[in-house]
């Protein structure tokens, strides 16, 4: 072997050792998080997947039932209804929360005085625990003394049965979520708006851009990545709605607000069938992942 070839081999070996050490160091740094990820996410998901082929297991021993739970889910009209309600709820809340939040963020950005106080006030509803917010909401929609119906009566209309009408119950709960969620997302988007360079607006103004065009061609691309994160996260949260529905209607009236997670909860705690609940959880997870991928792909296509 020539000296050059030997040096080349040594060099490659040294690079390999260096790369291995780098990988090991990287793994060592990631290990705590990986462990956390595996213990608190991968293992539970694997356990849920296994549970979907079992019956029982909460109060008694689990029993292998093969695909029974899956075939039951395929023909379950109540499950389809719960998923439909969940998608409807998400379709109502996500645009409403982010639309109002963006409008508020734009207003807050232009505020010259009292900004911190107004921001605190805007954020306040997000601090209300869901149960408390739900109980407050029951007063807000009361036919006699509620604020919403006072407004309705103010325009000469009859009071509306917000939570008791099957057509309005889900939108009413969505309204609560809009009230609760808007403050948080307004501040989240405000942070993104403040990061958009003022020079871009100045350049747009010099080019004769209208306010709308400045918003469309400067603001939206500037906050695009943040907006995408907001859309994905609000979608995730909305798809998993449970607490506000549980407090306000518990699925009623006449099943009009049954949602996917409420259905999962009932399968586990009321029907004592965590296996079926596991199937529903996996279906919901697949649904959320698919929806998130669609949102991300559409958003990327929009920015491309």
């Amino acid at each position: 072997m020539s000296v050059a070839a030997a040096e080349d081999t040594d060099l490659r070996r040294a690079r390999r050792v260096h790369r291995r050490r780098q990988n090991l160091a990287g793994l060592a740094f990631m290990a705590p998080n990986l462990l956390f990820f595996a213990v608190f996410l991968l293992l539970p998901v694997a356990w849920v997947a296994r549970q979907s082929f079992m019956s029982g297991g909460v109060l008694g021993p689990a029993e292998w039932v093969g695909l029974d739970n899956w075939s039951e889910a395929l023909g379950d009209a109540d499950l389809r209804r719960a998923l439909r309600h969940t998608v409807l709820f998400t379709a109502m809340t996500v645009p409403a929360v982010l639309g109002v939040a963006l409008a508020l963020a734009l207003l807050l950005r232009g505020l010259r005085r009292g900004g911190p106080i107004v921001r605190a006030v805007v954020y306040l509803p997000s601090l209300a625990p869901v149960v408390l917010a739900g109980l407050l909401w029951i007063f807000v929609v009361n036919p006699d003394v509620g604020l919403l119906n006072a407004a309705v009566r103010g325009v000469g209309a009859e009071p509306i049965n917000w939570l008791g009408d099957p057509q309005l119950a889900l939108p009413s709960i969505a309204l609560l979520e809009v009230w609760r969620g808007t403050g948080f997302w307004a501040l989240f988007l405000l942070a993104a708006l403040l990061a958009v360079s003022r020079e871009l607006y100045a350049a747009a103004a010099i080019d004769g851009a209208s306010r709308w065009n400045a918003f469309r061609f400067v603001t939206v691309p500037g906050i695009g990545p943040t907006l995408l994160v907001a859309v994905v996260l609000t979608t995730l949260v909305s798809m998993q709605v449970f607490d506000s529905v549980f407090v306000l209607t518990n699925g009623g009236p006449a099943g009009a607000t049954d949602t996917a997670v409420l259905y999962i909860y009932r399968s586990v705690f009321e029907s004592g069938n965590p296996g079926y609940g596991a199937v529903l959880s996996l279906v919901l997870m697949a649904f959320i992942v698919a929806l998130t991928l669609v949102i991300v792909r559409v958003a990327r296509r929009g920015t491309a």
Binding site: R266, F269, S271
Partner: protein
């Protein structure tokens, strides 16, 4: 939690203990049964007792009772705790799924069969049928034992019974209260006549969150129907009489609009409407002091009468809920738990418990029916409940999926009172749903 005891706390507890000892002595002197006597045999252990609160100071009362019991039975320590009624099923499911559930659990009649069916409760048949317990067993009516029996085994000891369905008739709005509740037709007509402006003729809770079944079940039992049939296994909801009962409710809500729009007001808001004089016939539970506002120091200013729901084709019953105490199958000290269950359900302790609660609960035992409430105007209504209402009581049958069955019926009921289906369709649909769950 801080477990230390300050000097003031020590003195307060000492005074409380002294009071309990004095009370115990007084009760013993009066010849009552020995609720606080020492346990027989070698029972020993640390017992955890979990229950839902029946009044604000329930936990304090339970702790005092437990301390008094331990004073007499030093080998048995009892640690009472409370669950939250709103999430009772979740909490108890989690508790029983663990390896160390509470030894004793207080549960309502809709819930315990689910845990009995899953073998999470101890079969108490041998304890109850022990000749040494014969006197105590005889103190309960047969129905009380039937209501804690599942699959031929006794799983609990009845403690209390609560009347959860009566009608309050505002006599400022309806002159002839007795006439208004003489029959279903009379009630419907009276409600229709009373409906004026913002005054409703009839009101009842209409959502599952507000335990609406407490009211509509009274119509079911008056119709001679039930969630389940007499065999306790197959559905018993689809009868012509029951269909008529739900047609009546549909009529009052949808056709006459005598009642508030379904779901518009929760139970709390309905109570406020009644207190404001805006409901002529209010169908709710028998907690008169809460319903009439006196519990909050604001008693209603109008006159009212309390009646049973009008008679149905099968009779005039009152719907009740039973509260029983159960022992966990996984209890490490079942004998000690049984000793404390006997203590809690004994005549003296049950009497003290019911009196301490304030008058809204009725005893499951018949031997204290005449003495549980002391003489005096304050407890007139409570005594009337025990003597007039309880003898005509009906409760749900034990079934592990009873809560789901009630929820399934609730959905159909809500469709019915919104006019989406008639009584016959409603009871048929509910019956089918019950059948699926019972299968």
């Amino acid at each position: 939690m801080h477990e230390g005891t300050s000097r003031r706390e020590f003195l307060r507890r000492g005074a409380g203990g002294g009071l309990l000892i004095a009370t115990g002595g007084l009760v013993a002197a009066c010849g009552g049964d020995d609720g606080g006597s020492a346990a027989t045999g070698e029972a020993a252990g640390r017992i955890r007792y979990l229950k839902g609160p029946n009044w604000a100071e329930d936990l304090d009362w339970q702790r005092k009772t437990a301390r008094a019991f331990t004073a007499d039975n030093p080998r048995i320590q009892v640690e009472p705790n409370l669950y939250d009624w709103a999430s009772v099923e979740t909490q108890l499911t989690t508790a029983f799924a663990s390896n160390s559930p509470p030894d004793i659990v207080y549960m309502a009649d809709t819930l315990w069969p689910k845990f009995a069916d899953a073998n999470a409760l101890l079969d108490l048949t041998e304890y109850v049928n022990d000749p040494a317990y014969a006197d105590q067993k005889a103190a309960y009516p047969d129905e009380a034992w039937e209501d804690v029996t599942y699959d031929g085994k006794i799983y609990g000891i009845p403690l209390i019974q609560g009347v959860i369905s009566v009608v309050y008739v505002n006599t400022d709005l309806i002159d002839d209260a007795a006439g208004a509740v003489a029959s279903y037709d009379a009630m419907r007509e009276a409600a229709r006549q009373a409906r004026k402006g913002n005054v409703f003729g009839y009101a009842m809770a209409t959502t599952h969150n507000d335990f609406s079944y407490q009211e509509w079940m009274n119509y079911v039992v008056n119709a001679g129907a039930g969630i389940l049939g007499e065999d306790g296994r197959s559905p018993g909801f689809d009868t012509p009489e029951n269909a008529q009962a739900f047609d009546l409710l549909r009529g009052m809500h949808f056709e006459d609009e005598s009642a508030p729009p379904p779901g518009a007001y929760n139970r709390e808001a309905l109570k406020s409407l009644f207190q404001a004089g805006r409901v002529a016939i209010y169908h709710s539970d028998a907690n008169e002091k809460i319903i009439n506002g006196s519990a909050e120091g604001k008693p209603v200013k109008f006159g009212y009468e309390i009646h049973k729901l009008p008679p149905g084709p099968a009779g005039q019953y009152v719907f009740t809920v039973r509260g029983n105490v159960h022992v966990a199958a996984k209890s490490e000290s079942p004998d000690a738990a049984w000793e404390y269950v006997k203590h809690l359900t004994s005549a003296n302790v049950a009497t003290e418990f019911i009196r301490a609660q304030g008058g809204d609960l009725q005893p499951a035992r018949t031997d204290i029916a005449d003495t549980v409430y002391p003489d005096g105007e304050e407890f007139d209504w409570s005594r009337r409940l025990v003597t007039e209402f309880i003898p005509d009581s009906r409760a749900v049958q034990p079934h592990p999926r009873m809560v789901e069955m009630i929820k399934a019926v609730q959905t159909e009921f809500e469709r019915c009172i919104r006019g989406e289906q008639g009584g016959a369709e409603m009871v048929a649909a509910a019956n089918a749903a019950i059948g699926e769950l019972a299968a």
